[in-house]
Amino acid sequence: MILRVVLTLLSHYRRHPGQLAMLLVGLWVASALWSSVQAINATAKESYARANALFSLETDQLARSDGIALSIDDYFLLRQAGLPVSPLLESSLTIENTRLTVLGIDLLTLPASNGNSRTTANGGSLTEFISPPWQTQLSPDTLQVFRLDRQQALGATPSIGEQRLPPLTLRNDLPPNTLVMDIAAVWALFGEQATLSLVTASGALSQPPEGYRLTRATSLASPEQLTDSFHLNLTALALLSLVVGLFIVQAALGLAMEQRMTTLRTFRALGVPGKTITLAILLELLLFGLIGAALGLISGLWLAGKLLPDVASTLSSLYQADVQRSLALPWHYWLGSVAITLGGLLLAGSGVLWRATKLQVLALGQSYAWRFSYQRQLMRMLQAGGLAGAITLGLATCLSLLPAGEGLVVSFSLVAALLFTCALCLPPALNALLQLLQRLLRRRPLGQWLAADMQLQLPRLSLAMMALLIALATNLGVSSMVGGFRLTFLEWLDQRLAAPLYINATPSTLTPLNEWLTSQPEVLETLPTARGNTRLLAINSAMENERNANESALLSSIAVFGISTVPTLTSQWPLLETFDGIPRAWEALAQQSVFINEQMAVARALQPGDSVLLETLQGAVWFTVAAIYPDYGNPQQQLLVTVDTLMQRFEGELASTGIVLHSEADTDAFRQALSTEFDLSPDTLVNQQEIKEAATQIFERTFSITRALNGLTLGVAALALLATLLAQAQQRQRQLATLWALGVPRATLALLPLIQLGGLALITGLLAIPLGITITWLLVAVINVAAFGWRLPLQLFPLDIAVMLLTAFSVALFAAALPTLQLWRTSPRALLNEETQ
């Protein structure tokens, strides 16, 4: 019996293929975007897990207190003192634009907790690993860098310049783009270019040895922690698409249910038990869910495959986190994707199931009092909107109580709650507006019909309009955020890169080079920079009295950046806040003051005028914070001082030198002279333009996935509207045919749906503008601060807003044009003779 019921229910879609298409499209897009983002996240997590296993968080690191790089003597000294330290040599090489990390380990002394201690656990020979010609261990997905497949890989010795790597051997647990070999092999390949670090098992040393600093494993951020906010952003966008897709599904199911109500009542009248009907609908939902999940998974994986390389580049540029370029999906991914689609479908179909269980046989043949049930629905929406509004307010209050830079999840929840509040209030607002319009247009029968008919269509259109509002507002919010970031970032680059030419050389080259530059007549100004580290020991804030930096702050070092306070730089260097005006801030920097980047100001709750106690070569010294400067894209907290201060007081070294030449100087000749004098390689001299281009490229790549998901979400909403309108196109024709019979010319009739739907979409679009601006503000001023530690100025782009409105309007016009076209082509006789439902 149940099979007969299911088949009869499904036969509805033979007569209404548009509804079936709408249902499947909704499920497909909801599942596709969600699956694609989850595939990207799962692949990234898998890479992070491998990285964590390798650079285990279970090992502490030792560094010299005086900031000088560790040498082999340090290792000998510590081993002679009986300390259980193990040396690690690290270097890198670039092959076909891919940076590979080369890690040299000493298996005999490496703490057992480190992932590398498993090097030979897979049956490999210890002797082969530690004896020449050694081994190069790498994960299978790194092979593509060498253009090798698995068969060719074993024992291959790819060349790197004039040398060759030790024979390759595969190790599945290694992160992508990482080569692991014996410490002697790395020394043979890179010599002193490789950086030595010393590790020890976590907790093996309770105190750092005299003259050394111990960085605890717990204070080291894993790639997963660093990239959390990035993946949360992606998940939020995917969740939005899922919700928008499910809106379509709910609209399609509601429409199908409404039209099949007579069939269901007939079944009941014919003796089919209510439970069988409910079960049949459930089976139907399951069938659609499985089809939708399959379609979504296939297209989601395709999309993820397309987006993953850009995401991997972004993660590498932003967080130095290596993610493989091909998808690696665990079993729970597949199960999760199907479960999400089915769960979403059941959620969207819960209303339909509820109506099926409450089906009254006696209502057989009764026409549906849509108006009244919709009034109840509107009231429920308003109540739910009120509840969502209260939650929004609660979250906003909660956020305001949290320290700045915290509450990423709360911020995203706030955006979601705000979107839902507005979406839920949209249908009641539109209903009220249409009611008012009906009154105002009382003397204009067609106008009154327009408004009244629109009000009647609202129950079926409301979900699509809600989806459209959410998608438009998000689209506006995200595009304004990205656009604003782009402008700010480019402007900031212009300000920070004051010199037309930069030299990135080793400190030993830069010191004589800077002296040489001062004697060159072509040189107008030199802008040396330096880098170093310090430790923040205490804070004296105006808000609170003196407080010690917390435990993790004490253990983690703060980057120090040194610049020269020459007018070329200071006149352009952007400052967000100063204690006593910009000129006084620069004067203060030349004395006992520091500037801090916004990330540090947010993380440490510091303001200009506060003081920080820093570890210097002369001991602990209080510095006044004179200003806060923007430092977009930097994941680290940073202090800014003059180069002189840095070199005298902190552990650091020269990093680069910017050169400003006289306008009449021959730049090419100067570059040539400079290269010859100091034997500089071509890539040491960097043109300002090249840096800007590289930075802009990274920027564009960073937001490519955001843009893609943003555009797709809007596309989904457009589909929702289109599918909803198409699904009820037949009924629209009947309404229009009646008007035509009453003497309304066809040309006027053709305009009516365009005015109705275009107007409704335009109103929704207009309402999306303030909501979108609010979301932009939340993104740039709240979420960005929580995720990255810096805020962006709120910038709006009228052209983007116009495009958004035009998109909404165009979709509505396109959807409205189809029933009109059908009306034009269908015999009115046929329409008038159709049975009214």
């Binding site: 009092a369 019909w449 009115p828 008038l832």
Partner: protein, 221 residues
Amino acid sequence: MLALQQVSKTFTTPQGQLLVLNEINLTLARGESLALMGESGSGKSTLLHIAAGLEAPDLGHVVIDEQSLSSLNEPARAKLRRQQLGLIFQQFHLVPSLNVIDNLTLQARLAHKEDGEWSAYLLDRLGLAGRERHYPEQLSGGQQQRLAIGRALAVRPSLLLADEPTGNLDEQSADTVLALLLDLVKETQCALLMVTHSARVAAPLDRTFHLHLGSLKETKR
């Protein structure tokens, strides 16, 4: 008032060409009522739609109030329909988004011929007084059909075209609605062309025609 001259209409069906109307001639004077009978599928509704200008004949002319529909373009035909014709359908074709009073006056307002007193009178005569603010789905089938009659008459048409106006009603309701319709037609002195398959419904009308195999024949009483 209405003249159909040599009107022919053929439909293309999967089985081939189907001649539904074959050189039909018919005239209807103002104040006259005419019943058009025939079997299902005989082309009664098609003839009515052609008379209303909703459908164009393949051959022949339709003249309403001395205006040939074939000489009018679509907007002009719509205007004529709006101002001079009243249409009543078996399926009522009320506008579900409008309440009773707005439905009743819809065509009159479209034609800029709204007459409040006449509308109120019609509502009263149709037994819909007090139901002005109700929506079509809140009315019974008989009430909906009465409302459809009211909408057609509110414009004070010179020609009323009714397609099985009582076809969806029970016998008692059908009698009431028909009596009301004929009363109002008499009052307004409009011409009435009514399609029906019921001899009982056709009986009170002035003349009765039968449509059979595309040809029209008057039934003598």
